[in-house]
């Protein structure tokens, strides 16, 4: 995946990445000449695919840990399936990968044990059961985005409860049908 600043005809550079939020990762790229920034959003399926390949956005400058993907991603693992019997320090060493200066941010992006990014504020809007049912029918990888969009539409139009009618009204703002 590459990004081009059309105005400068220059390859954009990776700048930053957020932790997965509602399953989605945001990566920021910057033009080194005009400093224009763009954000790339990965939906939850794309984020999960990246995790399953054990690849890091922005490069992997951290030492590779044995079975790091299984250890960090297996939900049904024992509490402590592996015991570290090494006294050697394993952090801070460099493995092959990119040369991005934002490695700590990047590694935290897929580190499930690090401090999570605060969840976005609750909208305070109520959802009727019919509306929730319809929300569930939206493909999961676009559902968080659709939910935010519907809630934003409802707030902008002065509604405190989201009903099927409001979803119908908001539908025109989305490419997906629900």
């Amino acid at each position: 995946m590459k990004f081009l600043c059309i105005d400068c005809d220059t390859a954009m550079k990776f700048k930053d990445v957020t932790r997965p939020e509602q399953g989605s990762v945001t990566a920021v790229f910057e033009c080194p000449e005009c400093f224009t920034e763009i954000a790339m959003y990965l939906n939850p399926s794309e984020t999960q695919m990246l995790k399953s390949l054990d690849l890091k956005l922005g490069g992997n400058n951290e030492a590779v840990q044995p079975m790091q993907m299984v250890r960090s991603q297996l939900e049904t693992a024992k509490k402590d399936p592996f015991t570290n019997i090494s006294s050697e320090v394993t952090n801070g060493e460099t493995a092959e990968g990119g040369k991005c200066p934002f490695t700590s941010v990047i590694s935290e992006a897929f580190d499930e044990n690090s401090e999570p990014t605060p969840e976005p504020e609750q909208s305070g809007l109520k959802w009727t059961s019919e509306a929730l049912e319809r929300l569930e029918r939206i493909p999961s990888f676009v559902r968080p985005m659709a939910k935010m969009g519907i809630e934003s539409f409802a707030k902008d139009n002065g509604h405190s409860e989201i009903t099927g009618e409001i979803m119908d009204a908001a539908r025109g703002n989305f490419p997906a049908q629900f």
């Binding site: 590459k2 790229f29 399953s52 690849l55 044995p66 297996l74 049904t76 019997i85």
Partner: protein, 293 residues
């Protein structure tokens, strides 16, 4: 406007570098392994894992150093059969130490990591609803780590116990381009033989992996009364097998083999002079000869 090829890199992620590093780690890990052998079948339930466990035992009793990768990520059984299920894995900076059976066979299996007997393999994700899009990739990633992050040390043989079917072998060949060969396990039923031919075609004709041979499990049983071999399944004439040229051996059914699997003691280390032990030992010798010839 510059084209894709004219842009110097992938904006700093160096995905190719990361993938190459993964492949290099795996290759370096296997540099101390002389021969890698995949044990596969067509249908499930033909005794592939039991044969893997006992071929490993036979090779070990012959003086070889042996490791087993339980490549059946969702249905792991090797740790149970080899009596190492309760071992807690340890790791150092350089890798995970495999579980070691009483005969010195090194084992890695998902069963050593899962929390409970009834715990399926579930991966962290925002939702499991679209898991079909990434689950298989996750399993191949786990297999890559099992092979590449386990401290095998010097091994004569690393056996990979594959799940049923022909779909996992292409992943294995991608991970281990110089896979030494494939042993195919079947039983003398028409259905099993129909399916196993697909696995053989996949290995030999599509992936160009050497077929070491076919093992016919539960080929017959020894009659308690007359001591003569009697058939267990429908196919009596295996001349139309298509696979005969590669037959490594026929293993008679012995209920004690199943009991040994359950108790975690390899059959071969318990029963030294039975027809099944002789057949498995002969198969192990043929596998060794395949690489020595």
């Amino acid at each position: 406007m510059k084209s894709y090829k004219e842009l110097p890199d992938d904006a700093g992620s160096n995905i190719i570098g990361q993938v190459t590093a993964q492949a290099n780690r795996l290759s370096q890990r296997l540099s101390t392994v002389k021969h890698t052998v995949a044990i596969m079948s067509g249908k499930g339930g033909v005794g592939k894992s039991a044969i893997t466990a006992n071929i490993a035992t036979a090779l070990s009793l012959m003086g070889c150093t042996v490791g087993i990768v339980d490549a059946d990520i969702n249905g792991p059984s090797i740790a149970k059969m080899m009596g190492v299920r309760n071992i807690t894995l340890e790791y150092t900076k350089s890798g995970v130490l495999p579980a070691i059976s009483h005969l010195g066979i090194k084992i890695i299996s998902m069963d050593l990591i899962l929390s409970e007997d009834d715990a399926p393999v579930m991966w962290n994700a925002q939702t499991q609803k679209d898991a079909f899009t990434w689950r298989s990739t996750m399993e191949v990633g786990a297999l890559r780590e099992f092979i590449g992050d386990t401290e095998w040390g010097d091994l004569d043989f690393l056996l990979l116990d594959l799940p049923p079917g022909s779909d996992r072998l292409p992943n294995v060949v991608e991970l281990i381009p110089n896979l030494g060969g494939v042993v195919v396990v079947t039983i003398p039923s028409e259905i099993s033989q129909l399916i196993v031919k697909k696995s053989i075609t996949m290995a030999r004709d599509i992936l160009k992996v050497p077929i070491i041979g076919v093992v016919e499990n539960m080929a017959f049983y020894m009659c308690k009364h007359c001591g003569e071999p009697e058939p267990l399944f429908s196919v009596q004439d295996t001349s139309d097998y298509k696979l005969n040229e590669n037959t490594l051996g026929k293993i008679p059914f012995d209920p004690k083999l199943s009991l040994c699997n359950d108790s975690g003691t390899p059959y071969l280390s318990e029963y030294l002079n039975t027809p099944a032990t002789e057949a498995i030992t002969e198969i192990a010798h043929k596998i060794q000869n395949f690489f020595n010839s």
